[in-house]
Amino acid sequence: MIKVAIIGLGKMGMSHCAILGGHPDVEVVAMCDTDSLLQSAFKKLTHIACYTDYKLMIDETKPDAVFVVTPTRLHYEMTMYAMEKGCHVFCEKPFSLTLEEGYQMVALAKVKNLVNQVGYVNRYFGTFNEMKRLLATGIIGTPFHFFGENYGPVVLKKKGGTWRSKKVAGGGCLMDYAAHILDLVTYITGQTITGCRGTFMPSIFSSEVEDAVYSTLELENGLRGQLAVNWSDPVHRKATTSLKIEGDKGKLEADTTTLKIFLNEANEAEGLEKGWNVKYITELTPQVYFNLRGEEFSQEDFHFIECIKNGDTKGNRCTFEEAMKTDSIIHKLINDNQ
């Protein structure tokens, strides 16, 4: 059994806790949260040990792995402490508030030879993985443009109360929403985003943070594209993420449910016709042992557990080092906006 402890039982923390609870080889031994309502709920209704001090929790329960699911500004001290104690760490996104702290976490994970993963869940959707695979085969020729979008109804009124609306805590649409697309572009193209231009980040309802992010991004291989992200969009029932990549031989358009492939010429090896082809999530989704809110969330957690079971500290699909690429471009977007 792999013993896991979770720090931070907000929406994502609860989700990880329940998914891990459904894994046959995992025992969730402890949780840490300062909220008194959550404390009593877990004490009264579960067998999970409850703490308000994460250091005490790690020292007493000695977990194999720790999930850090707290506001971004707390990631550094918690992740560092857990790794110092020899725990593998899964940290939620975005990874760190400052680049210096981020690189220290990357370095310590390497020195301690620990499994390290950041929670960019888009990396586990069947549609996006198929897009990545097809792109790498060169099926659309030389890409010349991409367009990454993310819209959702998170902040639809003036005034909001949680850390997500506080800049110092790592809130805002850039950190919370745009980070997903930045990571997705990095993952699918296999290229680091090196620059950005023409960035603007309007506040629509929030007083302290931006509610939307628009920019032109440039990748290390010179490919450019647009970023359009808005978390104050009432049109969408839930977060809607999509990426389009255009090349001289065709284009790929993926969201979380569908992958559309347009080819100038048929591709027999892939069994794809000239013109539009559509692949659906139903044919691209592997089955998971326990499904809470979509296979991708289970796969994300189970992948981390698999890496621990296999002692694989290098083959993780979203290491701290990978996540630093997104943190780095986040800082560039902030600078470009000023």
């Binding site: 929406k11 459904g22 909220d35 009593s40 209704l45 579960t46 449910t257 809470l292």
Partner: protein, 289 residues
């Protein structure tokens, strides 16, 4: 009492499409007006469907109003409410936090010790807080027939994963006592849930889960589902996502599902007369003919 063999779902009305975000947008536009939903329900009734399984979405309240105002027309019409409308809470938790969400959705002042809500909150009495949330969600259905009341899969599976089994048991007891309804559970993990109900003494539960030929959204595996559907384990299965979000044709999809006589009802979403009639006829003729 047995449930109807054929149940109409509501995803098509609220822009839920598991296969296409684009189709979602088209649906959102078509069903912008409540009358468009009522028109489809009337077609469904005309085709022989008398049970409507729906989330406790705000817009369902006006459908309930319409049903109450026309008692003769809807005398055989039943709702299967599914609670909560998860996105409402998920978005609220992101914006307001957990306490803020409880304040917003629990009727009465949770900070006042003069209310049931306040006392339950102060005592951290979670079964009572759950009762208050159930009552809040059920309010819109007052005066309509709700023979089965469901917990949405995200809640069922969350409580199952967290090991908060007591709340699942309490939900079943409460809807029986307060609404004289059977408890239903929607889940993505049917075999796990059947085991849990057996262990916790939830007798013969209604369990609604994806059941389709290609094993879509069937955890841990299609083989395990088939084993349970052929077993003599005590549960009342409802099959949903039989068409695997549109990946399967109606005929082959229903032939697969209806090979299991244990399945009490089949749930599907459709908004045209032709599709509703086709699915109704298939299910009616293939399931326990």
């Amino acid at each position: 009492m047995m449930m109807d063999k054929v149940i109409l779902g509501d995803n098509q009305f609220f822009a839920v499409n598991h296969l296409s975000d684009e189709r979602s947008r088209q649906q959102a536009i078509r069903f912008k007006e409540n009358q468009a939903i009522i028109d489809v329900l009337d077609i469904a009734i005309d085709c022989g469907v008398n049970t409507f399984m729906c989330t406790t979405h705000d817009r369902i309240a006006s459908i309930c109003d319409h049903v109450r105002k026309n008692p003769e027309k809807y005398k055989d019409f039943k709702f299967h409410p599914c609670m909560p409308y998860a996105h409402k809470y998920a978005n609220a938790v992101t914006e307001l936090g957990i306490i803020g969400t409880l304040k917003a959705y629990i009727p009465g002042n949770i900070l006042s010790v003069a209310s049931k809500a306040g006392i339950a909150y102060m005592r951290k009495d979670f079964p009572s807080l759950m009762e208050l949330l159930v009552d809040a969600e059920m309010k819109m259905f007052a005066g309509t027939k709700t023979p089965v009341i469901f917990l949405q899969n995200v809640i069922t599976d969350m409580l199952m994963g967290l090991g908060m089994r007591e709340l699942l048991v309490h939900f079943a007891e409460y809807v029986k006592k307060k609404y004289n309804a059977d408890a239903g559970f929607i889940t993505m993990n049917m075999p796990h849930l059947v085991d849990l109900c057996e262990e916790e003494g939830i007798k013969n539960p209604v369990i609604c889960s994806s059941i389709n030929k290609i094993g879509f959204r069937m955890s841990p595996s299609i083989e395990k589902y088939e084993e349970y559907l052929r077993s003599d384990k005590e549960f009342r299965p409802i099959a949903m996502q039989c068409l695997a979000a549109g990946a399967l044709g109606a005929q082959e999809a229903m032939e697969y599902v209806c090979q299991f006589p244990k399945i009490e009802s089949v749930l599907f979403g459709a908004s045209s007369r032709a599709h509703i009639q086709q699915n109704y006829d298939l299910i009616n003729s293939l399931l326990r003919p």
